[in-house]
Symmetry: C2
Subunit: 144 residues, 2 copies
Amino acid sequence: MFSKACEYGIRATIHVAVQSLEGNKVSLKAIATEIDSPVAFTAKILQQLVKHHIMHSVMGPAGGFQIEKKKISEIRLSQIVNAIDGDAIYKSCGLGLKECNATKPCPVHDKFAKIRDDLKEMLEHTSVAELTVGLETGLTFLKR
Amino acid sequence: MFSKACEYGIRATIHVAVQSLEGNKVSLKAIATEIDSPVAFTAKILQQLVKHHIMHSVMGPAGGFQIEKKKISEIRLSQIVNAIDGDAIYKSCGLGLKECNATKPCPVHDKFAKIRDDLKEMLEHTSVAELTVGLETGLTFLKR
DNA sequence: TACAACTAAGATAAAAAGGTCTTATTATCT
DNA sequence: AGATAATAAGACCTTTTTATCTTAGTTGTA
């Protein structure tokens, strides 16, 4: 569904959010350990997220990644996906046609449009904040 | 959503179905032209579809690919997707976790499960036959 | 039976995605 | 100020996906 980069990006953001709620910054290494991702690759993805203002980073010792508490309930999954994978997921045709739209649709256009719209809706309505809840209570997990 | 191979596979199957309904076989070359796909790559995909009994091929002059009329209304999109991409789409975790299930879910497990189930449902209920209808009447397209 | 028109299959190549490594830069603590 | 611990950035490598090429095999028809 998403690229690997995007999957890591979402997981990383959720983890940073959890820690930020407790007032902590998180180092690159800690994030990679916690979400079980390759360190160097994760670094790149985090840079993208910083560039897109989803989180910010502090350099130097005792530095790390953090999200403003206020922002945690504002950030939507859709923003993360957009930052990393772009908007192809919403726009692209299910059968790979370049020009596929309501006036010149592929045979599955309508059926796919519904699924995609549901997905979009879900991503736009899901905040990072609500995803942190289960983690704090040990009901959900970010690795294995 | 699907691999390129799978997209070509679906398009090819629909085109072969349309022709089969009119009693024609379709050559590899004709299929590739009609769905605007690379010939050699399409050949491989068609071989997979034949192997999975979604269509059959006849060698020699005046040969080509064909689907039994009876079968056209029986084949579901899900069978084509399964033949080429396997069942990863239904099973895999939205965040890429290897073990992600109801008892040990990732934070977005439930939300993704719903989307995936809808997709699965749609694929399993959509027959190739119904996708041929729009093509015959010029309402839908397989290229551009 | 030989030729033409086609598919079958596997080796190879190119492109994209995934992942690593190195060097530079920044900030803090001593 | 200097050592250190962190991020930033981009070059580089690896794997997977996508696509091509080549050779072999099949079959209907003249």
